[in-house]
Amino acid sequence: MLSILKGPKFEQILQKARENWVEFTPVKEEVVTAGIDSSFNNTKFQGIELWATTAVSIKADGEVLVDLHESGLGSDTDLSRIASKMEIDACEKTVDQVDLVLMDGSLHSQFMTRQSTLDAQVVRTMRKKNNVIFIAKTSNTKKQFEKLGSLAGDIFYYNHVTNGSGFSKLFVEKKYGSDKVISSTFVRLSDSTPIIKLEFLGEQHDEAEIKSIMNKLYKTSIGGYPYALKLAHNNCKISDKELGKMVSLLGLSNEIGSREVLG
């Protein structure tokens, strides 16, 4: 399979990735971090849709800082927009309470997708304390090596050139406007763990800051991934079972016309 990716430029790309990679072993730094994540789910019955969204902000020690819920009946509701909005709201409420706020996902997708109406709020919130970073476990961006004719995402090449802890040189993206500049770096917090992508707002970031952020993340990470984000994900999940409970609480499962009457 790899041979498909190993085009003529493969070695060249790897060489470039090696040059971009900065080896660094983080040291644990005591810091208060919070992870933020959101989720949504919906169920349909008798032509109506019951939906629910949640967003949670939780510290690595399990303390829930913000817990937001919304639900409703209707069809064609833009749930991802509602969830994103709740995430930003949770972030807004969190920035003053902790040293570092970790948002699950990508700033790129915030600025790129239909959530762009939230941009102003995102920028305002991130600027308030300059302590918000976006963290993505997966990344499909093909920015850094596209001039070399890369086939795979950037993360693929960094994964190939190194196994140890470190980070890639900052890559600055200005295409969303001067107030929405994104600086990103690929980071590996400890040996042989998956690479994660960190995104900051603005271009005033340097390697010293990345190292400092890595030190802060390293303290409460498991397997190279910040535990606060894992907690946030686990705490905000809305399973089908939970949605089923909501349906039964609202008394919707025994609507007249349900098939149960057929015995």
Binding site: A60, G62, S192, T220, S221, G223, Y227
Partner: protein
């Protein structure tokens, strides 16, 4: 103090709770419901950690330790609780299960010392202390002696886990009440039991009192030797039984067969010769065991005492015959006493024991085996079925429950079950004790020496107990081979020194 809350689906007999600390298996808890307070027993306990939920390697595990430490919500303590009944009823010895399951969200709390004492340490007559609750050590665990005499007792455990200690303890407590206990001591474990009112008897067999088949077993005539057994049956006449010179008379009868010119008797002459040899040999080999002049063996048992019947000198078959004989006689005696007491007999007094007796059979898998019939098994089963009516209690003790006859085992109204690892044994226990939950049976592998699960009628509730050690029990502990060898070596040196002192020096070799 709140321990946790009922969660998930609850049933009248079983609930699951999320607790603020890990509860021990065997711990008692209280559930407050609208119907009243319920007592529950923790049958299964588990702890999970979110930080360690999907750890894939050592490094992740190491990183997770710190996370788990700082996250106060990291641990989930789950307890599976068997409902034992309303506390109010349990105080009176009744187990009433609620009709409505506790509602999820109901708080569970720690029962008070008084709550538990009223159930596990009743102050009524007949209740005696045998240890402490394993998970609530300040609470005395008492058992009802009446119930073990009337409804029998099974003591089951692997070897070395405290069976004979518990037997000694029960015996000691009955002895304090001047009760009569008889222990068939197969391994000479109890002859040195240092308690007052003990009566050690070397079990002997009076051949006169046996039937021909039993005598054949005692003389160790082979099972398949049908002709030899027939010869013995022919020779073992009523006349021989009543004769002053038992052995001579029996030999004469065999001689008669040997020397007979009768055609049919001639055919079995060879076997008769063999029987002659066997009888001769038995008189020599079993001189201390077979005693035709001993009178009634039952007369050696003293009422109001602890009687240790030492059957360790007997072969397995002989022991079986002896145990069967004693059981048969004891049951007969208790029946006679019972009939006389109810004024149903116009005959003069023909019984020995005025009060109930508790008989303990050690190594029950030998005497009450599952896979074949023995006379001891027959009488043990009879006592298990009928004994309660006549005040004859049976205690069966075994390290191999799987080999004990289930019909007898399931007649035991109470059980003390100690550490058992073999699954076959556990299955047999589960079959014999319907009141023991699977979770409690599963705990048997993790019990330590002296710990026991008590179930049945001798306790108000199933309980995990640590049985107190009987200081008066000298034998039965594991022997230290190392110490014994060291002492033997020392004694050898002492012996050499002392004998060398007696030899003239000039006779000693260099």
């Amino acid at each position: 103090m709140s321990l946790g809350f009922v969660v998930g689906e609850s049933k009248p007999t079983f609930v699951t709770a999320i607790t603020q600390r890990a509860l021990s298996v065997g711990e008692y808890i209280k559930i407050g419901t609208d119907e009243g307070e319920i007592l529950g027993l923790v049958e299964k306990s588990s702890v999970s950690s979110a930080a360690f939920a999907d750890v894939k390697n050592f490094d992740e595990a190491s990183e997770s330790t710190e996370i788990a430490e700082i996250n106060k919500r990291d641990k989930t303590f789950t307890a599976h609780i068997g409902i034992l009944g309303f506390l109010e009823n349990l105080r009176k010895g009744q187990s009433i299960i609620p009709a409505i399951p506790p509602i999820p969200g109901t708080e569970i709390t720690q029962p008070s010392k008084q709550d538990l004492e009223e159930i596990f340490s009743p102050k009524n007559d007949g209740w005696v202390k045998i240890g402490n609750l394993l998970r609530n050590k300040t609470i005395d665990a008492k058992v009802n002696l009446d119930k073990i005499v009337s409804r029998h007792l099974g003591i089951l455990a692997m070897t070395g886990m405290g069976k004979s200690n518990l037997v000694s303890l029960v015996t000691k407590q009955i002895s304090k009440l001047k009760g009569t206990v008889i222990i068939f001591d197969y391994h000479n474990d109890y002859t040195t039991l240092n308690i007052p009112r003990i009566n050690v008897i070397d079990a002997k067999i009076n051949p006169r009192l046996l039937d021909a088949d039993q005598l054949s077993e005692v003389l160790e005539i082979r099972d398949g030797a049908n002709v030899q057994q027939r010869v013995l049956r022919m020779a073992f006449t009523k006349h021989v039984k009543e004769s002053k010179e038992f052995w001579s008379k029996l030999e004469n009868e065999i001689d008669f067969i040997v020397n007979s010119e009768d055609k049919k008797l001639k055919e079995i002459r060879t076997s008769a010769y063999r029987v002659q040899d066997i009888i001769e040999e038995a008189q020599r080999r079993f001189e201390d065991i077979l005693d035709p002049d001993m009178g009634d063996p039952i007369s050696f048992i003293k009422e109001g005492r602890t009687n240790i019947l030492n059957i360790s000198e007997l072969s397995e078959k002989q022991a079986n015959v002896a145990v069967a004989f004693y059981l048969q006689q004891l049951l007969k005696d208790r029946k006679d006493a019972s009939i006389a007491r109810h004024g149903k007999s116009k005959r003069e007094r023909n019984y020995k024991f005025n009060s109930p007796i508790f008989v303990i059979i050690e190594e029950a898998h030998v005497f009450i085996p599952k896979d074949h019939d023995t006379s001891a098994k027959y009488w043990a089963a009879k006592i298990a079925r009928e004994g309660r009516k006549f005040g004859l209690g049976l205690g069966v003790v075994s390290q191999r429950p799987r080999s004990v006859d289930l019909n007898v085992l399931s007649q035991m109204g109470s059980f003390a079950i100690m550490k058992i690892i073999q699954e076959d044994d556990q299955r047999q226990i589960a079959s014999a004790t319907e009141s023991t939950s699977r979770e409690l049976i599963a705990q048997l592998t993790s019990l330590n020496v002296g710990d026991a699960v008590l179930v049945g009628q001798w306790t108000n509730l199933p309980s995990l107990v640590h049985v107190e050690e009987v200081k008066e029990k000298i034998m039965g502990a594991d022997q230290s081979a190392v110490n014994a060898w060291a002492n033997a070596e020392k004694m050898k040196e002492v012996a050499v020194e002392s004998t060398q002192g007696l030899v003239q020096k000039d006779l000693l070799l260099d």
